[in-house]
Symmetry: D2
Subunit: 350 residues, 4 copies
């Protein structure tokens, strides 16, 4: 937004007026540009990060920087260059790569931004969510929603790397960020078996325990396992094995999104499949979990392999195609856009 | 409701008035009794049916009465003796035992009353629900919601017996019953593998297919398998192995009840457990699936074994206890009572 | 529902079987008729009650029968002759004429059936609803929802007659009736000015007081005044002065129906207007408030004047037409039918 | 958010790593400050604008700057000095003073940001909303929700000044801004009588027209008149004449907020009243409509008169008190905060 410096020829009176207006902490609308634009004057543009660059950097950080160096987490945040230096992937979404060495513990804390983890590599890690020990393995989606205590433990022999998705930029826009560090706890170090959350809510679809559930607006199921996601996608492919299929991760007791601010999905493109060129209001981060594919972003195509990450900006056109097939994890701000009545979509017949 | 025949001594004018009132299709409120009662003047009382009596009768019907004899179904309806001859278990719920011989087909039809099947014995049977072939086995819950086409096939070598639950009495009260016979279809006779409904919706809790779902108010998942129910109940018992646990069967995409008119639950009492003496507004039918237990109905106790069925009437006090443990299927009109704002519950500290 | 007495020729075994079935409190479905019918086998038929008959009878009751004679209320209930003697207008709705003499008090009580009053004649009466004094005048709709304390006082010089609508038959079907008599209270006898309910909720549309509202599922506004209803109908007519218009009475804080079990509407037919021939699932009672009209009930037409009442049964076809114009109050069970997913409508192009 | 420039003594390897991280469009979390803060690191602070400064400036703009000078509107936007030059009152809300001379027309356009007008001075102005002519007068609230066509006409003899509230900053954060200029229309210039919106929806509380309403998520009632608001506030004061009372402006058909992104309220403090010191997540703009009062903002007090405007920032403590009484209009982002599950409130016992 910049101020037009157009003046009429004899503008002394105007100059004085504009000076007085500024002194009163006001601005004249007619001197402002870029406020109301035909389509979103989107600040971030879509962007791609490649695994071939991120993976070695994460490892080097693991070697050089201790977990307690600051921030409690060894995290490299996706920094969309069109966002003016902010460590954000899109206007509403934080994306990052987190790296945890064997024996390390990322200590307990909680914050109002909701977070989710989609695991890319490694084993032996578990996250305590409200005291419940939740194991992590590649392809799993693990939730640490708004204001729940959480900490990460690597009790195994190899590092783990996962994708972090947060609604931090949105909550910053809303001035709604609260944070609280946890206390050091004497936590057993062995990898737990099944979490209480899964015992209660991962039984089978449509089986809801009767009894007291806390009054929360996020999913009480904190982990969605790859083995289930993989099998469910295969089932969807049975009806039409040549088209892309997709699942939404939902609160199993209500069908709502896992958090009020973020939607998670898993997409599978069978070999030869493509999605339609699409513009939507709102932004997403896609993470390639396996296979290879091509993404088209505003007409520019980029080749992708496992681990690559794509931020799609609001109203940018994007589509995916895959020769050999691929699996894509997606997090988006769709629940926000929908609850505020701002949905808009344009699909081009390709 | 009966008319009080109290008259004042010189009541000639009153007699004439009451005659004129009746001629005008009116009734004086003050001559009516039993309209407003301190607690529900429940017409049906709670009642028990024993498997030892029902099982042989169902088999004799199978031998003597063809499937096409009438009504399209070989069904013995639970007839609560306190309901004046109506073939209903409670004021709102129909319960029945259905018996299907090897090779028999119960032909296609549809009706606005919603129906559900809880399988007690047998194998080789499958139900076509909206064209989707759904296998049936003991402990499974199979749905045929309002106005969906359905038919039953026994392609196996032995009879199958299941419990039928319907909201027929409720829909009769509301004058909302519609029925349509189906057409003879040339349907393949082999037992199907997995239904399309399960491929789509039985993947894992919280995984919802993205795409077009019909706009219906019932669960798109038509079968809940015993193996899942059994395992989920075991999981619930881990936290407190000595207390009764229960699951509600829900629409996996919304968490709502399987139909707007009926709630289904599965209760497991471990050895030595008991439920609290409870009165609620609304009625239920319980079916003992395995084990043995005792039910107390308004203070009277009855011993129950697998296959026994119990209708609990509105505001009757009931509770269950079990020495050796048992599993109980339950269907109730709770969604109706709740959506109309009529819930009321009294739990006695025993 | 009657039992078919069809027997196969040599039916000794069948006879014995049927006897044993009956002894076990069971009935064979194939021996029952009328359970599942193509369209609702509606027990009540539509029916009309004429004011010319009801008005004098109400007055004679007022003269001959004291208010304390029984039932706490001087009420003549609309008795649909097709309902087998039950004092009900339809399967789900109670309709009645209530008559209160000058100086009389209908004492306080409460019951789970919800009630509403639509005033036809008189002045000087007020109803205490949860302690709040609500004045009554012709054309007003006054609510006494489920389980709220209420009593009626006539502090004026003339009798008042109003229409009572209740969901009593529905709640009887659901075994959900509770009743509690009130205590004699020393209540001031003068006509109150404006009720607290109206002070809070009748300000203007869309102005909702901020603060504590009791958690109830009925409207917190207990009275809808004729002056408002009349003017709002006139406003609706401005756009198309020749067509019938209608208002739904709603909870001003949520837009939902005034009670979870009953919908209230006011219909205005300008001279020459008619409604479309309609069948719906569910029943209604119409009360002519002013003007004259003709109702067609399953093809039979009846002339109506102010005070006449019409019960329309489920799936009966009905429509109204008016030469000189008329106003019709309507109460229906539509919220019940809709919340249970049973809506069905057939409109004939006339 | 700033990057910590802390380096370990021998940091050559680190320097190289950080360079490579930056080259890959990544940032190390542990080098970032201010991301997660104990309480919101609120960028805007609360701020006050005084009518004594704004009023003359608006008039001078009216004299010196034509309506068609740019931006289609003669608007001075509240520019919170703590927002780095952005013409916004808070992180989510735009506030402004709009000035329209006699005979002027602010031409038609539409935009996804929703807007509302609260009139402060003048007469003879009307706004066309979706073709519906809505008159404006002091104290009225007039809505032009997201994506509806609107234009302003001054057909009177004096200027009008009103407060504009928009969700523009929020929609900019979400990259959801669309804009479309309207076409010049040959619109009649006389002041209209009552709008169609008011004919349909301003009848009386709880009277909802039956028939087709567009499927929108904003209020179909576009104007809330001061005469109604004033009277409704008086009614609320009857119960406790010494305490502050407040109304929420709501969709009269649903009770929801007037738009999904903004809540409007009117507060009346009787003489001597005060509100409790409060912190909430989310921001508001208050406009003094009449009377005088004092606002306390994070402990600093400011005297206010009619026309003064106050932006309260998220989690700042604020409260109002008034010696002689006052009326306050308020717009807030509360519906956004609530629908995303971010409510948090701290009320200090003063």
């Amino acid at each position: 937004m910049t101020t037009k410096r157009f003046h009429a020829p004899d503008s002394e009176a105007l100059d004085e007026l504009y000076g007085d207006v500024a002194d009163a902490d006001l601005q004249p609308l007619w001197m402002l540009e870029g406020l109301m634009t035909a389509t979103p004057a989107v600040r971030p543009r879509s962007h791609v990060w490649h695994w071939s660059a991120m993976r070695p950097l994460a490892q080097r950080c693991g070697e050089l920087v201790g977990i307690s160096r600051g921030g409690d987490r060894r995290v490299l945040s996706l920094t969309n260059p069109s966002l003016g230096g902010k460590p954000y992937a899109t206007s509403t979404l934080w994306g990052a790569v987190q790296y945890l060495q064997p024996g390390e513990v990322a200590p307990a804390h909680r914050h109002t931004p909701g977070a989710l983890r989609f695991v890319l590599e490694g084993s032996g890690v578990w996250t305590r969510v409200q005291g419940d020990a939740v194991a992590m393995a590649p392809g799993d989606l693990v939730l640490t929603p708004s204001w729940v205590w959480h900490e990460h433990h690597n009790s195994g022999d190899e590092p783990m790397i996962w994708f972090d998705g947060l609604d931090q930029p949105l909550l910053e826009s809303l001035d709604a960020i609260f944070f609280e560090p946890g206390q050091d706890a004497n936590v057993p170090r062995e990898v737990p078996s099944r979490s209480r959350s899964e015992e209660l809510y991962a039984g089978a679809p449509g089986l809801v325990p009767i009894g007291s559930r806390p009054e929360v607006d996020y999913s009480p199921l904190f982990a969605y396992r790859w083995v289930d996601t993989d099998r469910a996608l295969d089932q969807l492919l049975l009806a039409d094995p040549k088209s892309a299929v997709a699942l939404r991760f939902a609160d199993p007791t209500t069908g709502r999104d896992v958090m009020p601010t973020m939607r998670c999905e898993m997409h599978r493109l069978p070999p030869g499949a493509a999605t339609a060129p699409t513009r939507i209001v709102g932004s997403s981060i896609f993470v390639v979990f396996s296979g290879t594919c091509t993404v088209s972003l505003e007409g520019e195509t980029v080749e992708l392999v496992a681990g690559d990450m794509v931020a799609t900006a609001s109203w940018d056109e994007w589509w995916f195609s895959s020769e050999e097939g691929c699996d894509l994890f997606r997090v988006s701000d769709a629940p926000v856009i929908e609850s505020l009545g701002l949905e808009r979509r344009s699909v081009r017949q390709s």
